[in-house]
Subunit: 415 residues, 2 copies
């Protein structure tokens, strides 16, 4: 006995209105011919739907500015509706408000000393987001996407056993934000959100299957399959920080040894930097430590720029470890691109080069001959952009479109 929804979700009746709207929303300005080509829907249906969308105030016709533009183009109305993309890091909150086609209305950063207490932290996030809305005359948000720096049960919208901030476990994030803002809210882990941002606005816009690795304090990955985040059976797909690195016995906080995060994560590298300073193997790091400053991954990066041999070796070693694990994932998953994001990309080309070298030397030709190994193009923006994209794709999905319109638009009565 087969479960149809599983095998044939592509066959479920689509919402033609949402289909046409999303084509216009995602393609910028487009004419009716283009919509016909992309949708496969008849011209008469498209005309009907376009009139409906214009009447709703969701799209508008762009008047041609000169004679060469003979065909009227359609575009979404910029000033109707807004969503927020919120991204929390360990030390910093980044948020932005976007139009429905992801133009930036407002952006803001807010530093955190500690995010240990969910009540306090989320109180501040909510306050800051409301303030940002007020400052920019945004009365209502159509939706909010949020990325948090720990595992999240996506369906329930709650953190799931966050390793360093135990008070957050099970904290009902989605419910709290939905109540506060009266709009749909989606909550996901940071790396999924960043991968989505990269896929919709970064260096992998035209790629449907790629792998995004976030190398920062911790190490995680996001898999994009067929243009969407792949979450796996328990929502923990991409959790690569605890994959074993060949030949390493580094002790990890998880209890196992040799975990990628314990070898090449930012925290582990800062610890190694300290050892290199103490042993005098790195004169550059020693000089910094002697001033009383606590060493971080950023100092290793500076050391490399100052041609400190030990720093360069440390970066190469971290890149090699990540690359060797990534090689296994590339063999298995065969992505079109491997995108590296997160704080350690500050190490620059030495780091990316070491990753690329390890991936290519440990993979069969077919899996790598046109594989792109590259740095995220969005840098610090991947988070809020991905969070905004997450909620936009949701509220305009086939199943949610009507609800979104009913909630936010008062249809003109002169039907």
């Amino acid at each position: 006995m087969f479960v149809l929804n599983m095998r044939h979700k592509d066959m479920i009746t689509p919402n033609t209105t949402s289909l046409i709207y999303n084509i216009i929303r995602q393609n910028g300005e487009i004419n009716r011919m283009g919509i016909t080509e992309l949708s496969g829907v008849s011209k008469s249906t498209i005309s009907l739907q376009i009139n409906k969308l214009i009447k709703l105030g969701l799209i508008e016709e762009k008047i041609p500015t000169d004679a060469s533009q003979r065909k009227l183009k359609l575009r979404i109305c910029e000033h109707i509706g807004a969503v927020a993309g919120v991204f929390l890091g360990i030390t910093k909150l980044t948020m932005a408000i976007y139009t429905l086609d992801m133009s930036v209305i407002a952006e803001k950063e807010y530093p955190f000393d500690s995010i240990n207490d969910p009540v306090e932290t989320n109180g501040i996030i909510i306050e800051q987001l409301k303030l940002l809305c007020r400052e920019h005359q945004i009365k209502t948000l159509w939706g909010i996407g949020i990325g948090f720096p720990f595992p999240v049960n996506f369906r329930e919208g709650k953190p799931d056993s966050p390793p360093n901030v135990p008070l957050w476990h099970g904290y009902p994030l989605k419910d709290i934000y939905e109540k506060e803002f009266g709009c749909p809210v989606l909550v996901d882990n940071d790396v999924n959100v960043m991968a989505l941002g990269e896929g919709f606005r970064g260096c992998t816009v035209n790629e449907s299957d790629f792998l995004f690795i976030k190398a920062g304090t911790g190490i995680g990955s996001g898999l994009i399959v067929d243009g969407d985040i792949y979450r796996g059976a328990n929502g923990c797909a991409g959790d690569i920080g605890h994959i074993a690195v060949d030949g390493s016995s580094a002790q990890c906080h998880c209890g196992n040894t040799g975990c990628l995060e314990a070898v090449a994560g930012g925290k582990a590298l800062a610890e190694k930097a300290k050892q290199l300073a103490e042993s005098g193997k790195s004169p550059y790091l020693k000089a910094i430590m002697d001033t009383g400053v606590e060493l971080t991954a950023a100092h290793i990066s500076e050391g490399a720029i100052h041609a400190d041999f030990a720093c360069i070796q440390l970066i190469k070693h971290a890149g090699k470890a990540i690359g060797e694990v990534a090689a296994k994932l590339v063999n298995f998953f065969n992505p079109s691109s491997l995108v590296i994001g997160g704080g350690l990309t500050g190490f620059g080309n030495i780091f990316i080069g070491a990753i690329r070298e390890a991936v290519i030397s440990r993979s069969p030709h077919l899996a790598t001959y046109d594989l792109n190994v590259r740095m995220s193009e969005l840098e610090g923006k991947a988070g809020p952009i991905g969070a905004g994209t997450l909620i936009l794709e949701y509220i305009f999905s086939s199943g949610q479109f009507s609800t979104t319109i009913d909630r936010n638009i008062e249809e003109s009565t002169g039907a």
Copy 2:
């Protein structure tokens, strides 16, 4: 600028007729209420489509046999149409002819001494399949699915750099079979086909995301994502035979060292069996070798049954190596099940247990707490069943349905 087909393929206009037909085809007997629930299509549309399908002779109403069955059930007409599932191994051809709901019409095996020459081998396969059709009065096949034991460029239907049978490279399999049989033909590698068979007819029927590992002469895997084979950017997803095993320096035929296949593949194990026999560490294997028989993986299995310690250790060691690589894939891909198929499953529970143990000890709790690590339920049948399923799902897909009907059914003129 976004490519719509990539991001929103679930929104493309569906073929309602194919949707309704597939619900009946995949669910066995089902009443109209059930179809309404699964399809989300209105009752009136369903009635219209059902009448159309009955008229075409594709489905029929089952007359209730007693009063308790008040609702008429629909089922597909068994005696209309047939497809073939063909599966070539290194030493054996297995094929079957199925009805459109995958009941077996005929099955056949054919032994091969060598499959080195594609012209000769495919000549025999074609001859045998035609013979089987004739024996069972099958005049035309609606489609043929074929699994071959090497990498296949799925889109082109040609082998792609097959490692041990170089003459097959680029041999136009799909074209040759389509010309011979005048029906659509899909050609894929063995493990993708087996994974699909397991998902549609085996132990993972209700699972949409699982991992199938074939452990035989070589080692490969098939990823099922959202109920379908995931092929990756270059069609080589799942190629895990050359992932490095921690701490191994075994020389692989690919040029690298420590590849999983070189450590735990059937060929490597037979070589190790020889060493254990020669050194006298395995009395059981030595006794067999002394009779002049060439040792294979099957002898290791027999040795284990006879409590030969070296054989048991060898099986455990192979299972551990596969499990350690699988642990990395489980961390990354978070499947609901890990299914082990292929010849080495003859090693039985010692083997599966060693894999399970390695996977669980090297994965975070969340990725494994409800992970099923189990043996394929279909054994030797996974291949032809998967090949049959591959072509059935294709010919009745939304985009192919009308073509399939036009090609095979003469519509009654009394419209």
